[in-house]
């Protein structure tokens, strides 16, 4: 793949005319997807896909075209040549782009993480042995992922990694379920087995009589997977320089200095050490960016375009100005003491389908999903039926936050919209004094 990309870069470079500049992004994967239902294979397939995104720049104008690649170098060159021709015809039709800023540095970044992935037979046999008697539903996704970037200024980035992501749920006959995930780059049958057995143990708690709650404010513990849903909402424009400048960020008041979060809250974009490429889709080296420190806004994510529009300094953000490796610093609560410190309240493993109910107020709503338990005096009493919450971030991670856990979980995105995601988050759990349930 790297050779294919290098050949395409050279071909575009050769086809360039005086006064023209280009950037070329590359994205490819070979994926095995196996869906499960009732611990059996519901659907199995393999996908081989690759695409290149060519941006042509001339006389202060720019346009871009994405083309699918087949692995045939000659065909790829033909498609990129055709794309170049179309972009050449397009540029004169455009006005000068006042926000066009190019990274003209000739940076180089290469990352190749080849790991042996498991044989599908091995995965299927293990699942059959450990969960064949359970109602398991989910997906196994695995294979190599490739990302590349090059420019006529000499920049070149290559990211190649083998990875897997097994995401599943175990359902109790009463309809309650526990969610689990095993993902990464180094496959270990022992680790996967341990994770499967842990989920099986948790399933036992779901057989207890369900607890019905009324709307109101409840003491609650949000496990890292639940915090990931809240963090995901913040990634939806929260830290974006453009959204902050145009009234479309949920963290407007925080960044204006009119509101703050609990001092223990420190968010950062922590690209180094993550599974994401070290370069953005715009072609800049990504940076680690402190976003919120001690509950107060610090930096924002600034793309090259926003830097020009709002007179800011770009900091390696991609065009959507969304974190790809959001990190929340740990607190002081040992995870082993969570139930004891919770005392009486809700233990929430996962949240689901969050959305803003009042964006400027950072008020969000969503639902409990999978293993949510009612706890009394530090003891799990039973599962809680699905409940809706509607609360402000300034409450959940502000006035009502008691502590964050010492231990954090690295959560690898399971998203496969268009392609397998390389995003991740690194999050602790959160103990809150009051979570507002509404329905």
């Amino acid at each position: 793949m790297k050779h294919l990309f290098q050949t395409l870069v050279a071909a575009v470079q050769d086809a360039l005319q005086p006064g023209e500049q280009f950037t070329l992004g590359f994205s490819a994967e070979q994926s095995q997807f196996v869906r499960f239902n009732h611990a059996k294979v519901r659907q199995a397939g393999e996908v081989s896909q690759a695409s290149a995104q060519l941006r042509l720049i001339r006389d202060g104008r720019q346009a871009e075209q994405q083309v699918t690649l087949s692995g045939d170098t000659q065909l790829g060159q033909q498609r990129l040549t055709a794309a170049l021709a179309q972009l050449r015809q397009t540029l004169p039709l455009l006005a000068v782009d006042p926000y066009l800023r190019l990274d003209e540095s000739a940076w180089h970044n290469l990352s190749q993480q080849d790991q042996a992935l498991p044989e599908l037979d091995q995965v299927l046999a293990l699942l059959d042995r450990e969960a064949g008697d359970l109602d398991l539903v989910g997906i196994y996704a695995a294979g190599p992922i490739y990302r590349g970037f090059a420019s006529s200024f000499g920049a070149f980035g290559w990211h190649q990694a083998d990875s897997f992501n097994v995401d599943w749920s175990l359902f109790h006959s009463n309809g309650q379920a526990v969610k689990a995930n095993y993902a990464g780059q180094r496959w270990s049958a022992d680790d996967f087995t341990a994770r499967l057995r842990q989920a099986r143990e948790q399933l036992g708690f779901l057989g207890r009589p369900a607890v019905t709650l009324k709307p109101g404010s409840y003491r609650a513990y949000l496990a890292p997977a639940a915090m990931d849903e809240i963090a995901g909402m913040l990634c939806w424009g929260g830290f974006s320089a453009q959204a902050l400048a145009t009234g479309n960020s949920a963290l407007q008041r925080l960044y204006n200095g009119d509101a703050q979060l609990h001092p223990v809250v420190c968010f950062s974009e922590q690209v180094s050490g993550s599974l994401s490429p070290a370069f953005s889709d715009e072609g800049s080296p990504r940076l680690d960016v402190p976003l919120i420190q001690q509950g107060k806004a610090l930096q924002r994510l600034v793309s090259a375009r926003s830097a020009a529009e709002f007179e800011l300094l770009a900091n390696g953000a991609d065009s959507y100005e969304s974190p790809c490796a959001l990190s929340l610093a740990p607190g002081s609560l040992p995870t082993a003491q969570v139930l004891e410190r919770l005392g009486t309240g809700l233990y929430i493993s996962n949240l689901w389908y969050l959305n803003y109910s009042d964006l400027p107020a950072a008020r969000m709503t969503g639902l409990t999903r999978f293993a949510t338990f009612w706890v009394e005096n530090g003891e799990i009493q039973g599962p809680v039926s699905t409940m809706r919450f509607d609360d402000s971030l300034y409450s959940l991670l502000g006035s009502q936050l008691e502590d964050l856990t010492q231990e954090r979980e690295m959560i690898l995105s399971t998203s496969t919209y268009g392609q397998r995601s390389t995003g991740s988050s690194h999050l602790p759990g959160a103990l809150v004094k009051g979570l507002t349930l509404t329905l």
Binding site: F33, R35, A44, Q65, L94
Partner: protein
């Protein structure tokens, strides 16, 4: 149109397989995204995508391989990959499809006005720039954007039983949004965008009402910024079509998807509060509720003649007079469940396999014009244009928010209110349907962004609806 057909046919005929059934689904898509934001044209983005999915059935077990390598050798390789995978998973397979019927239909489907030329890039950008420039100069108007998405899709399905099904479709997605902010609060008003898209030609721009709309949209954003919050408490709720579409989508469409009911989606998109045994028995809504799967409204986003598994599509009542009749289940789900369904097995592209999806899911018009709907409300609120959506994984407990609210007292529209939201439970909400607007209130809408499936897929779905009134709904506003 269908330029690849002859070559595909030839290559498909030359494929060699020992499978009892195999198929090829070739998809070629192009997309153009144009946008003018705050009077500056964003860089135009174009895309060209082409590939094929080869699916095999070996001893009743199906598997697929998707590839962009459309050479004879590339297709043969993918076919063999799929065959090998089918044999590999056979011992663990959930389904035995040996008895599932196979289509041998041959048909072409083309969007209305498919051949009508679309204005060139410069003219389209000019149209968007003019709309952007029409936004009044006001320091509180901090963001605005006019956009136009154009997609062309050609699909060819061939199988070893002799089927040849071709689609050629063109989709347009016009949009306009304006955000007003006073530094503390922000309010947005929009037209089109994720709430509107249709098949056809440039007449869609006119139907959307994009041209000349910027001034009014901006004015409404400013009105919202100055408006009081929506008061809390039970009220009668008048939903206009651009909120009805979301209400239909989330609390009728998703819960009726048969693959959810069969459990396939429980790890991701979720399950359903509806059980297989409810079809034919459950009173889903009041007797005014009539819901159809309707692929026959030409301009609606998901109108087609055959779905992606080759099942012929026809209009069907899913709910008639409030009674639940049939699920959104394609041929495979019908085979698995024994229930009659519809032709809704769909894939987002060549690299994802078809699953049960919504397509065109509509509410049939009633008999009351808008004035009459309003006059029938003593203490209520009108809401339009969805901006927030959230519903549980069984598609029961929901909370939705709109951009625009207007109180109704004693049969008359009163003041504008901001942050209008409401919550309820699907299984109860539709039984509170009290009045259904007539054809004058009926709009054909749709969204390009319906997500579901593992691996994930986003598809276009159409929703057409009249305005509707619901009795005594829990309504509330925001914090600001």
């Amino acid at each position: 149109m269908f330029d690849s057909s002859a070559l595909l046919r030839q290559r498909f005929a030359a494929l060699r397989s020992t499978a009892e059934l195999f198929s090829l689904r070739h998809v070629k898509q192009s997309h153009q995204a144009l946008s003018v934001r705050r009077n500056v044209a964003e860089p135009p983005h174009f895309s060209q995508d082409e590939g094929a999915m080869l699916t095999v059935r070996v001893s009743g077990v199906e598997a697929y391989a998707a590839t962009a390598d459309l050479s004879q050798a590339g297709l043969q390789r993918a076919l063999e990959q799929a065959e090998a995978l089918a044999r590999q998973v056979a011992r663990h397979s959930l389904l035995d499809l040996r008895e599932q019927p196979v289509t041998s239909a041959r048909h072409d489907h083309v969007s209305p006005n498919f051949d009508q030329p679309i204005p060139n890039l410069a003219d389209c950008l000019g149209l968007l720039a003019a709309e952007s420039a029409s936004v009044p100069k006001d320091s509180r108007l901090v963001d605005w954007q006019a956009s136009l998405g154009l997609s062309l899709v050609e699909q060819t399905y061939l199988n070893s039983a002799g089927a040849e099904l071709r689609h050629a479709q063109r989709f347009l997605f016009p949009g306009l949004s304006v955000t007003a902010s006073d530094g503390q609060d922000s309010q947005s008003r929009s037209l089109g965008r994720d709430n509107f898209g249709q098949q056809g030609g440039f007449e869609i721009i006119e139907r959307c009402g994009l041209v000349g709309a910027a001034r009014q949209v901006a004015d409404q954003a400013l009105q919202l910024l100055l408006a009081p919050n929506t008061p809390s408490g039970p009220r009668d709720l008048l939903l206009m079509p651009d909120q009805m579409m979301l209400q239909i989508h989330e609390s009728i469409g998703h819960p009726l998807e048969m693959d959810r009911i069969l459990g396939d989606e429980r790890n991701y998109a979720g399950t359903s509060f509806v059980k297989a045994s409810d079809f034919g028995h459950l009173q889903y809504g009041s007797s005014l509720l009539n819901v159809t799967f309707d692929p026959t409204i030409g301009e609606e986003l998901a109108s087609y003649s055959f779905d992606d598994d080759g099942t012929p599509a026809s209009k069907q009542f899913l709910i008639r007079d409030g009674l639940l009749l049939r699920p959104l289940g394609g041929a495979l789900s019908q085979f698995r469940s024994g229930l009659d369904g519809v032709a809704n097995s769909r894939a987002c592209g060549w690299n994802r396999a078809p699953i049960d999806r919504m397509a065109n899911l509509n509410i049939e018009p009633g008999d009351q014009p808008l004035d009459q709907l309003i006059q029938g409300i003593e203490h209520g609120i009108l809401m339009r244009t969805n901006r927030s959506w959230s519903i549980d994984d069984a598609r029961n407990k929901f909370q939705f928010g709109c951009e625009w609210g207007q109180l109704i007292e004693n049969g008359e529209l009163k003041g504008i209110v901001k942050n209008p939201s409401y919550r309820g439970i699907s299984a109860q909400f539709w039984r509170n349907l009290e009045a259904v607007g007539d054809r004058s209130t009926f709009q054909v809408l749709g969204t390009p962004n319906c997500g579901k499936g593992e691996p994930n897929q986003v598809v276009r779905v159409g929703h057409a609806s009249p305005a509707c009134v619901f009795r005594q709904i829990d309504v509330f506003g925001g914090d600001a």
